[in-house]
Symmetry: C2
Subunit: 267 residues, 2 copies
Amino acid sequence: VKGARGVPGGRPPTRAELRILRGLKRRKFREAERLFAAEGVRVVEELLDSGIDLVFALGSPSLEDTARGRALAARLAAAGVLRRTDDATLAAHADTESPQGVIAVARIPDHSLAALEVRGPAVALVLDGVQDPGNLGTLLRTAEAFAALFAAALPGTADPWNAKSVRAAAGALFRLPTVRTSADELLEWLDRHGFTLYGSDPRGTPADAIEPAQRAALAVGNEGAGLSPRIREAAAVTLAVPIRGRAESLNVAVAAGILLYVLTRTR
Amino acid sequence: VKGARGVPGGRPPTRAELRILRGLKRRKFREAERLFAAEGVRVVEELLDSGIDLVFALGSPSLEDTARGRALAARLAAAGVLRRTDDATLAAHADTESPQGVIAVARIPDHSLAALEVRGPAVALVLDGVQDPGNLGTLLRTAEAFAALFAAALPGTADPWNAKSVRAAAGALFRLPTVRTSADELLEWLDRHGFTLYGSDPRGTPADAIEPAQRAALAVGNEGAGLSPRIREAAAVTLAVPIRGRAESLNVAVAAGILLYVLTRTR
């Protein structure tokens, strides 16, 4: 079976499937259905590679503009999850500006602090009110690159499963255990497992002035207001990126990247 | 004179002014008119503080939702550049999702390599085909935080004066000299001023294995394809972020932040 412009296999989406896609733009729907949408060739490739349960994927003719897109369409068709549609329908259901002809719907993986196993040195990222989905995804991507054990999203943080966050995470969200938890539950867990909590704060101690703990959790706060009072108080110390320039004004993900580098470089 | 909901001063925009705002969404228009648009309270505050020539600013009632917004409206009115309009008109002329009730139009500052003065150790950022305006702005913000002498945008790089880039730069673009130049002109300048050119590349030498030059230029490439062949060849060495995680997969701005940190930390 060949579709329009040669997309192999795949039937058109059902109305119910399109309804799910529209619903997934809302956080409440994502949380109730435990589903999320992932857009773009690279991200959907990573999704397929991750073993996460992919429910269905819309593919439009523009997916076929590249060899890589055609290969992805073939993989989706082989898995029996490809739904063929036109570019306009796909764009209407997309949440990012360039879905590249593909949107996949998949199950949000179940992760919990209780299920995590800790051995030896470890690092974790705590999201304490991060609001911008692009920043959130970039933070998760950064944490995964530093082999973080997990990321914890505290109340007030944007939804990691927002399509823009999923896109910016570039696949990291499919591999890095990301848990939603309360500050109380997190702090209890960190304490029980011997983690030192560091807060990111431009007015904190220069990060290269401390000897990092073998088990370190780095908390980053809201783009405008910074850390919540609860996390600021619970942190052993707040850390600033030690830069020689003017007063620090770094994007939250850039600051977190430098701090994770400093916290883990002696390992 | 009080405007709607108490915005002080300010007349409505002229048709010509609205036409300029619409034109500024296109790079060619920005380049021909040497004007750019800046959106959002913080960015327009930074613009006023920078001394850059602000031509006019649209302000809508939602600018008055916060004390900070009201203070900004008062400053714009005092400078005689405030143009009052409604929220819908402002949104229709905005290029970002949350303009926060204010869009300013200002002159692109004139910078050239020839006008730069170098004394002692220095660092610079070279943008070699960076495509995403958000990444571009975050890179400029990062470079400015590290007290970079300048940023150079090579052909193939997105326009730094794109509204999304201006927003992500969070004011850095108003202070950091940002020049558009050819690879030839840049390489000649770097050579003449004793700069060592480093390239950012995940397959490069771990950055902490080198002794950084006192005058260092860091080149970052396209989000997908990396450095251009010309710059890759001209670089003394390509540097990777030394991370202990899986194969490096960092956002270009996060990688640049860590590399700039490593290149400047011994100063």
